[in-house]
Amino acid sequence: MRRIFDILLIGFILFTLVMARDIYAFKIYKTQRGFDVKWHPKVSTIVNPSGGVYTYSDSPEVSYYFNPSGAKVGALAALRASMGTWTGVETADFTVVYKGITSNSEYGTLDYQNIITFGPLDIYTLALNTVWYYSGTGKIVDSDIQFNIVYNWTTNGSPGTFDLQNIATHELGHTLFLGDLYGSSDREKTMYGYGEPGETKKRTLHQDDINGITYLYPRFSNQRWFIFTSMDYPNAVETMIYDINNSGQTVGAYIDAGGECHGFFHDGTTFTSIDYPDAEETRAYGLNEGGEIVGQYADAGGLVHGFLYDGTGFTSIDHPDATETMAYGINDSGQIVGSYYFYNYDVTEEEIHCGFLYDGAGFTIIFHSGATKTMAYDINDSGRIVGGYYDASGEQHGFLYDVLYDGTSVSLFDYPGGGDTVVLGINQAGAITGSYGGGDEHGFFYSKTTLTTMDYPDAYNTVLWRANDNDQMVGWYTDKNGRKHGFLANKETFHVDVKANDLDGPVFVNPVEPVAISLSISPGDMTGKEADWWGFLLSSYGAFPLFSFKAPLVQVPETTLLNMPWPLGWYVFLFVLDNAPDGAFELDWYDYVIVVSLPAGAGLEDIPDLE
């Protein structure tokens, strides 16, 4: 009986997802043939060195170029904040990203480049959005937004003006193909069709906005699981790990039994201590793929200097004006970031604390306007720099300094509701790591649409310093005695994948075509553990169990389970594993694929049980 209930329950859940347009208040738009107009997953190919080419789908990416002609100061930051608001919906799978400055002013032209411009429009129109799509699939291929230059756009919600971030967030909802709502219960939603000058409430999303975007771009990927391993330098009192490269090599610092601090390098199996000659203290903060290491050391007088270690010798790094200099990160081009400070004796004798970018020849100062201190912690090969700054009230905030695109653009990042955020690392894919929470620190990992708190199990504090491009992360945590330990987090390799005709779906087929439903399982460290195995078919014609049994988890290479045509209708092939081998259904690991069987010339309206 319990099993029947579970089947009905999961059937209801999936049916709800499929039919969400009838349940939520949000509106969507269809092509004349009945397909949802939306952004489609980005399809990429990778060449396997041992032969063959793999094709895979990634999150839909809506990328905009910005033409600054006619825009006021602060417009780009407001637009990027709007993009970040939509990208930040954790239950949806897409990104809205800023790609850079453009001189393209061809608003509305089908040129496959999405642009945001300021220009003249008719007097009634504040902003206009033109979208091009394929009528046979609903796939959006071009979207341009233009703001009417004759109106007074501001970025602070001033009365009588139009707040750019407010309207841009609403516009980007349309870009993602959500429609307007007009009901009295819709007033607090970003997609409410009415607004007023000075309004800012559309900057943040209502749950119905989130439901709408989640319907169009659902996130079904398995939960990210990580296995944490504590790593301590032998016989050290405390250990901190600060960086990891794609080879799995790490660097950090440790406190020995005598209370002295040393840097270290770990090649994956062996620790090597790193000490700047004659230094009182050494810390190794960053390393690149070439094995170059940067960090800081304290001289005999206790003053701190940066250093570069190339495996054979040290080079001291000191900003010419600095009292003290710290080097935190290095990319594969040898560009180094860090911070330094000096005392401004000419004016108030105050401490001036700045970040820097050092290219081997000279220093570029990085200083966030209004900050009391700015620190640059990491740089990736694209030249994107991350760090933190303190505002006048003493609170710390993270930043992303986008050197790659326009050299001036800064994105600010605060962990939502977290307080005292600092961004410590950025990998080549642009995922950032860091910590938030001030005295009660937590690590975080932010990649595309996934913002995840990353805390070492049962730790009092966790600081996540860096992630490489292989889903490995490092940092340190404090135990119940207040002592620091390094850690390495590896993504659990458990993976379940169901495909139709080698695609993740939805797959549209003709009823006469056979459809190959395949399954692959990679249990990783869970291999051999007992589990319940479940298979279901949910369809226009009802829900049907395919199989259920108890068996150990094993590696299953891609295997075709079914290969047959399916009559007109919709079908969901669902495969579930649960790690409690008790015959009761639990949704621990799962994947599914949707197949729509549709004859030529038919529309979705012809499918039984789907409108």
Binding site: Y29, A127, D180
Partner: protein, 156 residues
Amino acid sequence: MLASSVQATMIGLSTEKLTRDSRLIVMGKVQEVRSHWDETGQKIESTARVQVERFLKGDPLARVLQVVYDGGEVGEIGMKVSDVSPLERGEEVILFLKQGARPGTVYRMVGKGQGKYRLENGIARKSGFSIVGDPQEIDNNIPVSDLIEKIQKADR
């Protein structure tokens, strides 16, 4: 097919303002809609033939008007422009119209989607646009007879 839903943001237009800015206001039925590339070949537009049942403002030139608006589908490509509320075959409407670029009986809607009311069961509704302005000043979900009375009052 659902109503259009790609919108930008416009200044809200009251019935009085719509009436003043319109050359023609008609009540009628959409006979046919055809999408095509515009004269420049750069954009898609649609032309709807509207059978006029009643002229609420303006001098009648013909009982069948052509109303042009941006967007539509031609072959494998579609274009959707914000705040344009497409017309559908068989739809009963009240349209606020201005002269199109071409002379004769070709018109465009005033205020894009704001200039189109769909008539159903004696109620006039409009949608498919975002506006800045007081919702109380925008007539929506209004009895058709009340809307006509407002138009006639504003046209005096």
